[in-house]
Amino acid sequence: MKNIVKQIIGLGFSVLLLVSCKKELLTAVPQTSITDATAFDSPERVLNQVRSIYQALKNGNFYGGRYQVYGDIRADDFINETTNGVTGFDVWNLNPLGTSQNSVKNLWSQAYYTINLCNLFIDGMAVKGTSVVGTTLSNNYLGEARLVRALSYYSLLQYYARPYADGNGSKPGLPLRLTGIKGSGFSDLARSTVAQVYTQILADLDFAETNLPATYTSNELNTTRAHRNTAIALKTRVYLSMQNYAAVVTEGTKLAGQAAAPFKAANGGVQDSLQPNITTIFGAAPVYNTTESIFSLPMTSTAGDNPGTQNQLGFYFVRNGASLGAAEYSMNPSGILANTNWSATDARRVNLVYLNASTGKRFVSKYQNPSPYLDYAPVIRYAEVLLNLAEALARNNTGVDAKALALVNAVRKRSDPATTITAANQTELINAILLERRIEFLGEGLRNNDIMRLLQTIPAKGSVPAKTPSETGYIWPISADELSLNRLMTDN
């Protein structure tokens, strides 16, 4: 009996021994990512985080493609070819719902994700990052984060809030989030007014202008990372949307101080200027990082480093021969195409509009790189700064402002040397500038915002009727998710 007891005890022990091992396996640490506790531990990690902010901005749902696409297709220069809700059919027919996943919801989420990355970065630099990279570099980086944050808020305002012109910014704007969020419990936040959001945008851009580097070491970085002129250029856009034309003049003059062409940024930073030929920057063999492309988002063929399926600019706008895009949107034959002030020999018509001979349809062909669609996504170009400044000067000065005329002609004559824009009065000048914007920025997403900042009716196109500023659908509804989860949020 004693032996048996011994046996049992021995065996029992061995049972326990067999089991009580491998404790270290209980602490499984991720092998494919960095935990948040160490994300600011080295200069490389900090720099990689800066780039991640741009990466988020570059997402296909945001500035990688769709933001620009929506800006074009809401307006009257494009016709939807596929009635596909995933590729903006609802946006095009001015009827998106708050539950529209591929437009209203995704853009909202991605823009705020970008904003949160900026906020987390700003917070993290204060806690640790600045001590890791030093003050100078830290300020540069913070300038970049705040610029991207400003751009994101500005972009959200254009679709989800009433234009500034409607009540001088007194209408509901956006939940203004300025601190980084890593966990749950922060959903509730009411909308600030449009003006309050603009105030923050400008504060960020002013900070960015002061702290960003004047230039980087390469043309590529000067295009793909924000520098001082990027902040100034964006300010001309922001102030124009606010109809603060004096401020547009102030900012625009920093980048185009000359009284007459050639215009060029001569403020000691990147020497931004127009390229002699628009086909240098768009079309079959574009150079993406010229001094005209103040800010563009780079693409490579590596998965995740391009906008992804059904988000790419080329996918939407181009149909060229056997391959290329999906021809989601053709040019409206009764839109800008029908405008006789756009001459048939204009380089932008000759080189950047494609005629599909078999269907007779025309397409904007600024982005001709086939799948995986590696054309850089333009955010802001020097041409826009010139036209922003031109419009502000034209609106600020009665009569025909000479510099305004010179600026708009600088853009026109580059592509259409045979034509000189003239204006008999201020209104004609303004209209000429607006027309020039419509031609110059086709496929770059500015048209809708140009209509709405002036509180104009969105014209009819195809089967879609016009939309007056007082109608539902003039601006987008708020994302249904936001309404459901942020108890202080209100719908449009």
Partner: protein
Amino acid sequence: MRKLIFILSAVLFTVLSAAGQNRTISGKVTDEKGTPVDGVSVASSDGKHGTSTGKDGTFSISVPATVKTLVFTSVAHETQTKAIGAQSTMNIVMRAKDTKLEEVVVVGYGTQRKKDFTGSVATVKGSAVADKPVQSFDQALAGRVTGVQITIPNGVLNTPPVFRIRGVSSISLSSYPLVVVDGVPTPTGDFSSTNAAGNALASINPNDIETIDVAKDAAATAIYGSRAANGVVYITTKKGKQGKARINYNVSFGFTSAYGIPEVLNAQQYTDYKNMAATNNQNLNTTNPSGSGYTKFIMTNGPDGRPIDTRWADYIYRQGFSQDHNLNVSGANETTSYYFSAGYSNQEGIVRTNDFTRKNILMNVDSRFNSKITIGGKISYSNEMNRINSSSGSLNGEGFGTAGAGRLQFVTAPNISPYRNDGSYNISTAGNFIGAMNNTIAQVGFYNPVVLFDKNRSNSETNHIQGNVYLQIKPVKWLTLRSMYGIDYLFVDNEIFQTPIHGDGFAPIGSATSTLGKYKRWTWSNTAQVDYTFKQKHTVSLLVGGEQDRRTSTGFGLNRQQISDPVYTVIQAGWGINNSSGSVYGENYLLSYFGRFRYDYNKKYFVTFNLRQDEYSALPFQKETFWGVSGGWNLNNEKFWGAMKNVFSSFKLTGSYGKVGNTGGIGDYASYSTYGSGLYGGLPTLVFNQAGNNVLKWETSYKFDLGINFGLFNDRITVEADYFKNNISNLILNVPQAPSVGLPTSVPSNVGKMYNKGVEIAVNLVPVQKKNFTWTTNFTYTNIGNQVTELAPGLAEVLTATSGLETVNRTAVGHSVGSLWLVRSAGVDPATGSRVLLNSIGNRVLYRFAPAAGQFNWSNPDGTRYNKPDGSANTINQTADAYMYNAIPKFYGGLNNNFRYKNFDLDILLTYQGGNYVYYGSWAGLHDQRFWNNHVDVLNAWKKPGDIASVPRPVYGDNVSNGSALPMTYSLFKGDFIKLKNASLGYTLPQDLVSKARINSARFYVSGQNLFIFTDYPGPDPEVSSNGNTTSAPGVDRNTIANGRTITVGLNITF
């Protein structure tokens, strides 16, 4: 010294024996019918002398005179003990074992007599799932077990069924039960990442299964602690049975075909109808706003000169042929049992190119080394090919894919053909669509499905190895020590090719993807069990043990685009762009200690305690203890029960309560907030990509069960009834945060609460039991109520989208999980033909697509604009106006009747469910007024004022009135059905006939699956789930291809 005594006594004993006077007893053993029984062990009562009966049942044994009794034992019969009288011949009649009494259930790390068991476990015999036209056993469980709901979500082969034991027990995590195969947990779910489904459980050949034990309550599951909340399914594979080797061969052939295909317009009807809709669109029809001759849609003549009239379903469905072969060899002698099987199954699905092939082998061996040590183990290998060339649109996440065949079948215009008249594929030159032919509208379909089915591939191959080895030692009679090491290695090879000429491969100029996923697991468990009976009335049993469970998953792969030559179709060929694909890296580890204590007094009172402590690497290092207590009372063994004993052949009350957990679906690193790596213009980035929760813990279920089991008329009728309530707390919700907080992922948090409660009843009847005719009936009924009682603070709802696009499932407090959330539609306005919807307070609101000047999209019945109270324009939308409809069946079950007449057997299984709604999203699609083809009922659409119609006035481009853009109750239907799930008729060849051919038995059978559905549901099948197993999104039928109907003939032969 001891040794010496032993030797001496042995010698003495031998001498004594030899000295005793031996006598020889001979005789014959037969069964109740008089048939000789061979292999019966005949032994002296002291066990020192023994023999066994021969083929003719006779035996002869020589025993000393001191032996007064002989013991006759046989596996299939009750043991007989007979006194030896004066006679030297004994004829014994063996009675067949009362299998009910001896029935055991698997309880985790052991088995137990069913009669003594105090928890809720249902046992399904392997024969119930064998020989069925299914790919995995779980598909065949519907209607057979109370509390178990099985929904085959679609008609794609090897789709994991929606498997719920006593309801949905989670919102964000998995509700799939834990499946333990021969003691080793196995992965569940779809491991394919292609358009072919790849249920991991298909690796278990249903023909190799001996029993399936479904454990439902805390008592039965608590031994699996943190993984038990969804119930546990124990699979026991077949082992060799005592006797000489048996060879069994089963072969079957079958045909499967689709049913309930939506009836759509033919070419002429389509052309006329769409032209009418285009005419009705005043924006489109500006040239001829009032005329009727406005033609955008024009018929095209085919090569035969006659108008094309294409029935697209004919290009998507097919009649599938299947064949199934299973061969096994098994046997056992006193010390060793073995079972070896090989299976080959090749099944064709109803969707063109959808095939399933399984080749598998299984070997089970158990060997008693000596009276104390047993060694055994098993090894199984299975290879499954899951094939389909192009998306069926039916798997979870595929519902809105442009290539989805389930939608293409009814979207694509019937007045075009898949081929041009010159025989080439009909592909648009203007875009990546099917060509419009004479129609003047650019698009009359999405992709050309024929090209995709001809040219693409989307296959998944699984190699699955399951094995274990164990050592069992019984140092003394009452102690069992056991150590088992098991592995489960699952390797999944996914392979996709997309042609550059059309479809998803068009833009990338061809695309090929190959990924390999390796999911490896080892489990090591060590247990010690004490079984002891004292004073004959007290039986105790104590189990203690420990277990380690280690899982790693790694995956990698390649996606290549821009094919360099159109002739290539494999990834190894020449391509332009290479990207990584299918990267997976994960590891986890579960360390557990557990115990079970059982006690019964005189087989009258039973109590059981289960305990398990788990520590899991995916959760921030904390231990948690799970437990279950249960008791049983066998009233039939009570004296006071008295005369009731004559009424009841058995009567038992049971009750249990306990706490179990759920971890299925928690990410391996869910507790961490992480930054991942990406690229910006080719340069590295570090981006916040996961919001973690460092205080995450287990979901916990408190399960309560009260059961009553009784038998009447000598168990001719048995009834098992249970009341259960499962309170689930600490529900892990991936709590959605307002998108404006900008988190990359929702944060997993233990916040929600819900309950499932209900009643289960199983009735087994033997209405007729005669020599030539028996009829057995098995009826199961489960009634279940689910309600969410708490979500996160401030969280009113969890919305779940179908395929990321359409949101109709909403989980909210006070409702069942994933209720359907729809705007109420109220028919068609007879005056204008507009769709009428109801707003939140029930006011009628009219929708008009493309309104004329002075009209509005949204108007009041009088035509004025529908406004908010402040006068600004308003719309009907889900957030403000939708209502909730229960999507979870409130009752379900089955009725199985088995008839046996002479050599014929007939088995009929009906399944039923009800009390739920199904959102038939395809119905919205079938009424969409874009280029999409429509259901034939649009022919009765509104045409003139005064018409009472169910379909609104068609306006070309309208995708709101039909529910495409705004989900509405127009597409909501009751999900009640009764289904003739399976019927099989068999004929067993007469014994005397087959024995001449040296065949033990032979049975022919013909069997049918999904033969008939009684339902008001207008779609093909209300048993459907477009969102697969997603717990928070049940009851959706969106562009899904339904189950097929299968007829099988087979032969089962044993040598």
